[in-house]
Amino acid sequence: MEIPYTVHPHPVTGIPNGKLGIWLFLASEVMLFGALFSSYILLRVGAPSWPHGYEELSVPLATFNTLVLIASSVTMVMSWASLKLNQFGKFKLYLGLTVLLAFVFLVVKAFEYGHHFSAQEFPRTSTFLSIYFTITGLHGLHVIGGIVVNSYLLLPGSKMWKKDPDRFANRIEYAGLYWHFVDLVWIFLFPTLYLL
């Protein structure tokens, strides 16, 4: 016997295995970032004073990064749509753009970090900075994870398109779901850390 529903949807649930798997993974990610948000609220409520994010951090850079990440989400979903339209070239272009934008995000983030470090601001400096570095750092790791996955799918992984196009399109969809989630987390992180 071979494992059923690896590509085609289950007749009752209407989805293949991978889709349920990636959503379950995202559910656990919600709990991970939820716990960190919860810790942030707890520490902030308990603190005698708390700086406004815009006093400590660079809002213009973060706004730019937000737009970058949103744009990368669009290119990600466009790459999936291109596959569905059988336009493999366009798919490569869009997915390549996604990876590129992710790199832009990381470079900007690195500038922000570097700026803080040169101003002698480290995670140990204050509670605000510790939670800022921890959450954005963990988010950054997720961005790196996304780059790794997308690069794989862009280069060696895309060979699958010839053999098993449906399965490959599914993979792009799952990678996309993950990537949109990373974007979604940032959408909440941005106002919480920078604007409040």
């Binding site: 016997m1 071979e2 494992i3 059923p4 529903y5 690896t6 085609h8 289950h10 007749p11 649930t13 293949p16 295995n17 991978g18 349920l20 798997g21 379950l24 993974f25 559910a27 656990s28 990610e29 709990m31 991970l32 970032f33 939820g34 716990a35 960190l36 919860s38 810790s39 707890l42 520490l43 308990g46 603190a47 480290f122 995670p123 140990r124 400096t125 204050s126 509670t127 510790s130 939670i131 570095f133 921890t134 963990l138």
Partner: protein
């Protein structure tokens, strides 16, 4: 869809013949091989964790007296037991690592990783897990996590010594090995996440034709709920682990308030953290974790009781609803571990009430299992003995939870031996007995041979006696108000009064170890010399795992099974044999099923 599956199955076995040794036995993606690896690793960890406790019991029974065990004492060395006398640091290391290893490296991997992996896909008639490679990754990540934990024993300053709960700020300022503990935990959490995603997808997507949710064996239900607990409760601990790692490595103060003075020195940190944050995040995981430990055990026991009473389980749906409710409620009770932190009345009333509520489904489950015995026909084989012993032992474990859940009684009993006894009754003679029952029960499926029943009984009876010899006196010590985790209890007046009990407990613990020797012999001896099973279904069971060849090949079933009835159709009136397997085509209702 089913046609496609059937076509594949014809040439599937031939394809797998070509795998080499490494792909077949070590890096196999076959859920059964992974399950067995999980099982062996977890049993070794269980034994190691138990050994730590046997060593620790020496100090509790004979405080400050040298342990003269020749080369063994020398091996432990001057930093742990100079001249055989245990140092308090080492005592704390033994305690912390016993807890960590038993819970995260022993019982969960055995109950979920081993039994879940091996049995669940068979019981739902699936060819494998939904994601075999992720399954393999899950095992190896667990293995690495275990190695990191073990390595922490060799770090300067010794193994982690802040208890398995690793309460901050103590763990924040502890020696290097605490960092290894955190890294090890992150590996173990990752492994659990990979495993639980796999389990849920497998149960939802890969059930055999006709196997609706309410025809699932109860064990599968238990694994299903357990997986959700692992999936949603572990990430907060991961977050807490990351925060504590930051505290230790990057010098942040998530769990450190301002103005700490450690050994006379003002701590140079920014402050502003909250020590209770760790406890909240930890117990948010660790209470559901308790149910991760017990639910699979309930599942195993239910399977074995149904099979050996030759009677359907009483109130199958009630059982299912009860564990769903248990799983759900386990997220609402975490703060009852923190009653003595200075909780106000609103919070304490809320958490006391939820704690009392969560005891009810446990009572219902126990009652259902007991009612299943009524007018049954009980076969006393080794798995059944362990499964039956689970019932009163779990009852004691559950009942002793009541006074701990009532906050006013908890003032006296909190952090005493009573607590230790309570949760050990649940997990040691409870869960571990259920796991032994499972090993005896499914061993014939995995090896094609029965385990020896005389050695099985020689394992069971002394184990039962000494388990109680260990844990019952602890209840009395707890009632006397004796705190847990004390290196030398005799410096307290009340500790002196109950010290004789400590000696009994320790001797029972060592005898309990001797009682495991028949099991170890049995386990290996039966592989080669055990009685061969007379059929694929030696226990005359109804569930699907017995419909495969023995042992099941890669891909499990010769052809996709189809299910026609509920899981426990035993002694159906009018049938010529006393069991009706789930996949047996019903001659009377043939039209309806096809």
């Amino acid at each position: 869809m089913s046609d496609a599956v059937a076509n594949h199955s014809v040439h599937a076995p031939a394809h797998h013949e070509e795998l080499g040794f490494w792909r077949k036995y070590v890096f196999s993606t076959d859920h059964k091989v992974i399950g067995i690896w999980y099982g062996i690793t977890a049993l070794l960890f269980l034994f190691f964790g138990f050994s730590l406790m046997m060593l620790l019991r020496w100090q509790l029974a004979y405080p400050g007296q040298p342990l003269q065990l020749g080369w063994f004492t020398k091996l432990l060395g001057e930093t742990r037991m100079p001249q055989g006398i245990m140092l308090p640091e080492f005592y704390n290391q033994l305690g912390a690592m016993h807890g960590t290893i038993m819970v995260f490296l022993g019982i969960v991997p055995l109950a979920v990783g081993a039994f879940g992996n091996y049995v669940m896909p068979l019981q739902i008639g699936a060819p494998d897990m939904a994601f075999p490679k992720i399954n393999l990754a899950s095992y190896w990540v667990y293995f690495i996590g275990g190695c990191v934990m073990l390595y922490s024993f060799f770090v300067p300053g010794g193994a982690p010594q802040s208890g398995w709960t690793s309460y901050a700020p103590l763990a924040d300022i502890a020696s290097t090995s605490q960092t290894y503990w955190l890294v090890g935990m992150i590996f173990l959490i990752t492994s659990s996440l990979l495993g639980s995603i796999n389990f849920i997808v497998t149960i939802v997507q890969l059930r055999a034709k006709g196997l609706s949710f309410f025809r699932l064996p109860f064990f599968v239900w238990a694994q299903f709920i357990t997986s959700f607990l692992l999936l949603l409760a572990f990430p907060p601990l991961e977050a807490a682990g990351v925060l504590q790692l930051m505290d230790r490595v990057a010098g942040t103060s998530f769990f450190l308030p301002s103005g700490l003075v450690v050994s006379g020195q003002v701590l140079q940190n920014s402050g502003g953290g909250n020590p209770l944050l760790w406890q909240h995040l930890f117990w948010f995981l660790a209470h559901p974790e308790v149910y991760v430990l017990i639910l699979p055990a309930m599942g195993i026991v239910s399977e074995i009781i149904a099979n050996n009473t030759r009677k359907p389980l009483w109130g199958y749906r009630t059982l299912v609803y009860s564990i769903i409710f248990l799983g759900f409620m386990s997220f609402c009770v975490w703060a009852h571990h923190m009653f003595m932190t200075g909780m106000g009345t609103t919070m304490s009333n809320f958490f006391q009430t939820t704690t009392m509520i969560i005891s009810i489904p446990s009572v219902v489950i126990l009652t259902s299992l007991l009612l299943s015995l009524w007018k049954s026909s009980i076969r006393f084989n080794t798995p059944m003995l362990f499964a039956l012993a689970f019932l009163p032992m779990f009852a004691i474990g559950g009942l002793t939870g009541l006074p701990l859940g009532l906050i006013a009684a908890d003032i006296h009993l909190h952090d005493t031996w009573y607590v230790i006894s309570h949760f050990h009754y649940v997990v040691a003679p409870g869960t571990i007995f259920a796991l032994f029952a499972g090993i005896y029960y499914w061993y014939p499926k995995a090896t094609g041979r029965q385990m020896n029943s005389f050695l099985g009984k020689l394992h069971f009876w002394p184990s039962l006696i000494f388990m109680n010899g260990v844990f019952f006196p602890m209840l009395l010590q707890g009632m006397a108000g004796l705190s847990r985790r004390l290196y030398d209890q005799t410096i307290y007046e009340h500790g002196k009064a109950v010290q004789p009990l400590s000696v009994y407990i320790s001797i029972s613990a060592w005898l309990l170890a001797i009682a495991q020797i028949p099991f170890i012999i049995n386990f290996f001896w039966s592989m080669k010399k055990g009685k061969k099973v007379d059929s694929d279904n030696p226990w005359h069971s109804t569930t699907l795992e017995w419909a495969t060849p023995t042992p099941p090949p890669h891909g499990n079933f010769i052809e996709p099974p189809e299910v026609f009835r509920g899981p426990y159709e035993y002694s159906v009136p009018g049938e010529d044999k006393d069991y009706t397997p789930q996949n047996e085509r019903d001659t009377k209702n043939k039209k309806e099923d096809a």
